[in-house]
Symmetry: none
Subunit: 191 residues, 4 copies
DNA sequence: TATGAATGAGGATTCATTCAT
DNA sequence: AATGAATGAATCCTCATTCAT
């Protein structure tokens, strides 16, 4: 069975299994054994490819961030007008896949672990810094210079808030409604 | 040591210890053992007063919600103008104590457990429904009828978003900054 | 509330509760707390009246043995013929109350604890010795001298076997059937 | 230490340890910890091979039943006359190993747990049904048709009764004496 | 490359018991 | 006479991790 070049495939399998496991069984029940079984692999494999469980969780966060990031880049390429750069970022965030229950669950769970897994913080900090920088950059041609920062923060907060709400099992907010609420607010923020 | 009428005191001690423990040691390290030791009590006491750990966590969520709720009620009593009712709700949310690291950490951690502890969901659902109703009620005299709902959702999302951000260890957002961001957005939402 | 002369009543309440608790919740779930709650009393009461849990269990065994013993004595008083003495013993054992599920469950559970609670052994040993002696005495006029011992052992084994069978949750043997099986065998043992 | 194909060996080790532990330390003291230590293994191993403690106990009951069952089958193979089939069953039950203190203790302890571990009941029910069927089959050529059932029940009750008696720490009955009592009774049951 | 056997620490929980009131 | 608050040890179980194969 051992083949060469299995690394990327195996890693991907395990990350997928992690997201699914968190979604379907909950963080507390997402043990290495359960995740690896779900991936059709043995528990030892996690150490093999990710050193330890934290490594797998960090890789999962990276994958989620990367997915969003790629989405943004793809849309940026099509941007013609300055405002299109902002829409690229926003549309990417409201892509159904990022509001999909499994994605949101995993993301939320990883957020909850940050305090206890510093590497998770580091990854997130880097990612958020870049995102925020993109956001400010996109806003610069659209709002007054002294409002760029505060509008960026507002947008950021709203996205997180809507995400957090949609991640809660008690929520009544759908992805579509989230988008509507957001657009309504954005209109007013940009004048 | 055994005395009568210790129930309220002991419960309070344990809830305090839970919040502190989550804040200082992290959710994952907040075992019944550690929480009770922090309260200066034995592990068995949790079962005595709360049936089990989930019971303690639910009681903690109720306490946090109650704290916010009381704050709102207190401020509502002083409201003279319609707009004061809205401020009562908002000011309560931005009270330093609700942005204090220990409070926010505990709140966030409890949110993260809702998927796995249904009773937590139930409590939160009831609380949020009431809060949202209050918010809509306060907004009615201030915005057009057809915008009440969406503005309420926006406010709600922003508060949660700013809270979530301030709970993240990677955050650069302070309570004060959160308030500033929020007020700036609110101004525009209310016209 | 404290009254004088409550001792016998309280003890009786607790013994009843013990039997019921073992029957309805199982030995493993028959804790001092559960037993005392079932008796409508506090957990501390057990220490008060029985020193500790073992004391309560020993008292329960004594009560069960005493019940059977009384039954035998009562019937013995009516015995006119030699053979009536044997029937007194046997009829007492097959009294519906001694095949009642709660009684049998408790008895069986107490048997299972004997190895770990020596006092239970002592009580049982004394009781069985007396019973066996009664049995031999009753058999003496009925069978050959050299068969008294072995018939006594056989009767004893059959009673225990039928009891044990009826105590098993898998059993299909009813009290009535047990009696029929026993009588059929006895007929042949006595010639 | 990790090797492949250890499953059967480990399982066997743990079942042996369970029987020994119940015998030497008592059911109440037969914790997973103590059993596994006695087997020279770690506590986690029980979950690894048997899912949980109940699984180990069920496996232990199966092993005990299987031992008796094998003994019967072995003797059946040598049966030449109809009556030999009956002796095969009876001799198997009175094999010294089945009256050995450790075996009897474990058996008795498992019986006592049936009320609380349904799977134990299921296993026992299946086993007893087959045994009883064998017994009736063996008796058919030996007693009148209308007595097959009652004699089977009597034999069954006597075996259980003698077993139960020999399992009691208060007992004075040895395996040899048990056999003598049984044979004496059987002689009369078969005419 | 991948397995799965094995570990042992740590989790929540249950319990008999003690004791001030 | 009776309570019920409080304890802390012991229970079962889950888990991340290690490692021979």
């Amino acid at each position: 069975m051992p083949k060469v070049g299995m690394a990327p495939l195996r890693k991907s399998q395990l990350i997928d299994a992690t997201i699914q496991c968190i979604h379907e069984e909950g963080v507390a029940r997402s043990s290495v054994q359960r995740i690896s079984k779900r991936a059709g692999l043995s528990p030892g494999i996690v150490a093999h490819y990710f050193e330890d469980k934290d490594g797998l969780l960090v890789a999962t966060l990276k994958r989620l961030n990367k997915g969003l990031s790629n989405e943004i880049v793809r849309r940026m390429a099509d941007a013609e007008q300055p405002v299109d750069r902002l829409w690229a970022i926003l549309d990417a965030h409201f892509e159904p896949v990022h509001f999909a229950p499994d994605t949101v669950d995993a993301w939320f769970a990883l957020w909850g672990m940050m305090r206890e897994i510093p590497e998770l913080q580091r990854v997130q900090r880097v990612y958020e810094a870049r995102l925020h920088s993109n956001l400010r950059h996109a806003l610069r041609p659209l709002v007054a210079a002294d409002r760029v920062e505060i509008v960026a923060d507002t947008i950021s907060a709203m996205i997180d808030g809507l995400w957090a709400k949609s991640a809660q099992p008690t929520t009544l907010i759908t992805a579509k409604r989230a988008r509507a609420v957001f657009d309504d607010a954005l209109l007013r923020l940009l004048d």
